[in-house]
């Protein structure tokens, strides 16, 4: 029973991180209909920056803040300088540009910080809570992670549903031309969407870095599972991203714990196919209505 609890808690904390990456991917998808494969590279860069700031200044929260600001700027710059030119073209071209950017960022990180991963501090203790004399597989830092992810998802939902800027962003994403005719500055909405996405991405990097270290390739699995979670939940839905992330985290944790680590990727495949066969647009898709 302890083991089941441990695996459940582990699934929630890893799933929260997948959810954070998924949220970032959902944001770029909603903003510009592009799956940003470079997200893993962008959050890797901002986490490296945070690492450098923390080690020179000694302040975790300063590094945290700098990473978020850098994420915001990086997202905006990437959208303005690169994606703007391919947004209107064939969707695959944007995918290839994103892949190219991912490769470029990983190479640059290797040049600047080296290929050897480094340690990254957690915001709070990673010593598991003491429950009846044993430490469970869930620490204050995991609580922080889960709360941040829930907070971000709720914040995004509020932004999209409750503010005029959110309404403009949604309009720009769904029908850019119509939105422009209604006076929405669509270009700015795209940039804002990417900036926000990269901000959430850099947050995900900060949350996961203590557990996977910081290195040019350390975030690759997180991006893959984050993307899987986003697809699972439905790429248009922030709530779906969170549900998809946590569901994926739980399933993978159980499979890894009870069946062995070698089956983890296979399990991810099976759960994704199973869900997509029943709901081809993910768990929280709105495609049903759109087909009418």
């Amino acid at each position: 029973m302890t083991r089941f609890i441990d695996l459940t808690l582990n699934g929630i904390s890893t799933g929260a991180v997948y959810a954070a990456v998924a949220l970032a991917l959902v944001l770029t998808w909603r903003a510009t209909r592009i799956v940003n494969f470079a997200q893993g590279g962008m959050l890797m860069i901002t986490t490296f920056i945070a690492s450098s700031v923390i080690s020179t200044s000694g302040s975790y929260w300063l590094g945290f803040a700098v990473a978020l600001v850098c994420g915001l700027v990086l997202g905006a710059v990437v959208e303005r300088a690169l994606m703007r030119r391919v947004e209107s073209g064939a969707p695959l071209n944007a995918v290839i540009v994103a892949l190219g950017l991912l490769i470029l960022l990983q190479a640059l990180a290797g040049m600047i910080w080296g290929n050897t991963p480094r340690s990254f501090p957690p915001a709070f203790s990673i010593r598991g809570y003491d429950v009846g004399g044993t430490h469970v597989l869930f620490a204050p830092n995991d609580t922080f992670t889960v709360l941040v992810v829930i907070g971000v998802a709720a914040g995004l939902a509020a932004l999209f549903r409750g503010t005029t800027i959110g309404l403009k962003m949604r309009a720009a994403a769904f029908q850019p031309e119509v939105a422009r005719m209604l006076g929405v500055r669509v270009g700015r909405m795209f940039t804002l969407g990417w900036a926000l996405a990269a901000l959430v991405g850099s947050l995900a990097g900060l949350l996961v870095a203590p557990a996977v270290f910081v290195g040019p390739n350390q975030f690759d699995p997180i991006l893959i599972f984050g993307f899987t979670a986003a697809v699972l939940g439905g790429l248009d839905s922030p709530v779906g991203a969170v549900v998809g992330g946590v569901a994926l985290g739980l399933v993978l944790s159980y499979v890894s714990g009870y069946e062995g680590a070698s089956l983890v990727t296979l399990a991810a495949l099976v759960i994704l196919i199973a869900v997509l066969m029943i709901r081809p647009g993910g768990l929280f898709s709105s495609t049903q209505e759109r087909r009418v």
Binding site: L167, Q175, E177, V178, M181, L182, G183, R185
Partner: protein, 234 residues
Amino acid sequence: MARLEIEKLTTDYGPVRAVDGVTLAVDEGSITTVLGANGAGKTSLLRTISGLERASDGRVRLDGEDILGVPVEDIVRRGLAHVPEGRGVIAELSTEENLRLGGLWRGAEAATLGEIYELFPPLRERRGQLAASLSGGERQMLSIGRALMARPRVLLLDEPSLGLAPLVSAQIMQLISKLAAESELAVLLVEQNARSALSIAHRGVVLNLGRVVADDAAQTLSADEGLRKAYLGF
């Protein structure tokens, strides 16, 4: 000076000339309809006026001010609203969200929203529903209502009766006529259904292969049998 003046407007899609030296004018409180067969360049004309397509040549003036080359999102701020073909409602947003979008740029108040609901009572009933769930006629109302949220001086309408039942279509036409008369709008109406368009319009322009082949008072056009047979199909 007419409210909307178009002079020798020309638009090319690569080697294809979609709009070829079109000149026309719309006065405030009046309706000018642009007629012609499929592919005559009607939609291209509207898209060029509202900045969605780049003109190769010509002029577009709104109250004497040149608006050609002004970005799409600024055209509406100058007072020109465009209701696109196929209604252009955003299916993923609710009815009310669609409406609000129309007035966001000028910070339109709930009061304006109320006026629109007065004008289109069915929309009020469906304010919370996704636009995807609306009927064809309701979508058309939504689309026009959304454009009115901007309080435009010029309204471009692209095939408002397309795919609507005759009764609904007639209602829409009545509404357009009323709008033009009451709020001193200049309406440029593109229609395939020439008969009903001419019934409410003050002036008519007939396009063929991008060129103006006739430009006259609506009644005169309706009476011209040769023209009706050749271009208007009734």
